[in-house]
Symmetry: C2
Subunit: 283 residues, 2 copies
């Protein structure tokens, strides 16, 4: 294949359409692979074809495929395992399980956490509406309070890029960390994408929320952005968290996106920081 010219598909692949022409070859390859992931041709947890296989399939050198996969790995879409292969990443894997949970107990990792090596999260099946598991040394327990379908409030519709009045699923749940009620999450999801999502389905599922969305609804959360404010606890929130109304809480608003930067979740978390803190690395 010529070096920088537009990629011409061979028989084994879907046509690449609205791509930025004249992108470097490795980006075109990256984009082709991403499309396959998005289409679900290669599923979370499974290996993608080997570098040599992809190289011959796309008629480029292995080095080019390598660079494409390097970026996919940097984007956390894929995980390389030496000697084994390259795997579609999944919220089910221990290493990426609570990738988006930034709340840490205050005692944890006094200095930089650097690598910390999470002690492998073994799952314990919980009672109805709950699941208990260990993550980063802390015991995590999730209890679903509510799951209902409703017409999207204007604000939610805007964020999720829905027409106003379209239906959304609202989930409210309580997170216990070390036995303390710590986070109240209010989650909104596009109704169309998560058709069969019910309170019962959630109750019977033990495991990370995003893992359920991934395995049951084929929607993988890729990336998210958060906005954090300090607020006084509203009465209703305080009640659920067993706190006095008005105590300071972290209000964490999160927009999560799948492939192509499609927003598919809006979440508002109300967090006590009496025994925990929000952790962040700057670089």
């Amino acid at each position: 294949m010529a070096s920088t010219v537009a990629y011409t598909p061979d028989e084994t692949d879907a046509v690449p359409q609205a791509e930025p022409r004249f992108a470097p070859l490795y980006r075109q390859i990256k984009s082709l692979i991403t499309k396959r992931l998005q289409a679900g041709d290669w599923k979370p947890g499974e290996p993608i074809p080997s570098e040599t296989e992809l190289a011959s399939r796309y008629k480029v050198s292995q080095g080019t495929v390598r660079k494409a996969i390097d970026e996919l790995a940097a984007d956390n879409l894929v995980v390389r395992k030496q000697g084994r292969g390259t795997f579609v990443s999944s919220h089910l894997e221990v290493r990426t399980q609570f990738r988006f949970l930034r709340l840490r107990p205050d005692e944890y990792g006094q200095d930089d956490v650097s690598d910390a090596g999470a002690p492998g999260g073994e799952f314990q099946r919980g009672a109805v509406s709950s699941a208990g598991r260990s993550v980063q040394g802390q015991v995590l327990r999730s209890q679903v309070l509510e799951c209902r379908r409703m017409r999207a409030p204007a604000e939610i519709a805007r964020v999720l890029q829905l027409r106003s009045g379209e239906t959304v699923v609202q989930v409210r749940r309580l997170l216990d960390l070390e036995g303390q009620p710590t986070v109240l999450d209010e989650i909104w999801l596009p109704g169309a994408r998560f058709r069969g999502l019910t309170a019962e389905r959630l109750a019977n599922y033990s495991g990370p929320f995003y893992a359920l969305l991934e395995t049951e609804f084929g929607t993988r959360m890729i990336r998210a952005s958060e906005r954090i404010k300090a607020v006084a606890a509203p009465a209703e929130v305080a009640r659920v968290l067993h706190l006095k109304a008005g105590v300071p809480l972290l209000r964490v608003d999160r927009v999560s996106v799948t492939y192509e930067d499609q927003p598919v979740e809006f979440r508002r978390g109300w967090c006590t920081t009496e025994r925990h803190h929000y952790f962040n690395e700057l670089s």
Copy 2:
């Protein structure tokens, strides 16, 4: 040079000592370059030698140097500029100036900020004890309230890895965002490293705090980690921020490190989030 064996220094470079032997060649090269940066042989804003130059100097292929520099660039230690060269990154550069400031006005970037392309921060010299400048579309003004030397409190000494009782510099400053007092920063620095740092020096300097530490004291902040809590504003803090005592504030504790992960700053920021929020990207 043989492929994976230990690197043997040639005449042009300091001996590599306590390095993890049997690291890949490119990491050894990376480490050699890092040492040069740390030693100040190549200064912030200046170019480092070209890839071909480094390749011949270290007697490795250009590809290997390239991979080393790729990582340095990913670590933000260095910035590549096509056609020009590779430059030691600096807190003076517009693009990295307020790299660590995560507070955004609420209206800014309704959706993902993605790339946003900050509109180039032109500096305006301010009155004594202050500097006004524009960053990411918001007007930022810093006012030094206090700068004194003191014996390190136990907690500070621990974080900065000093012997208890060693002297530290404490700086207190107020950040105005869009004319609103928004953040009160309490900063502790190791006294030994920042010997000539005085209130006057700070007052006469217009520009980012870290840029001053970099240019005047040769200490570059590489990386930081933050812990965030929601707290009720202490009376003293509230007074400075023109708020009522007890209103919810973000308390952001930051530990910043230089090369070799040496901690060199502890900072506690008290932030109102009435008109701003803390922004974070998860991936």
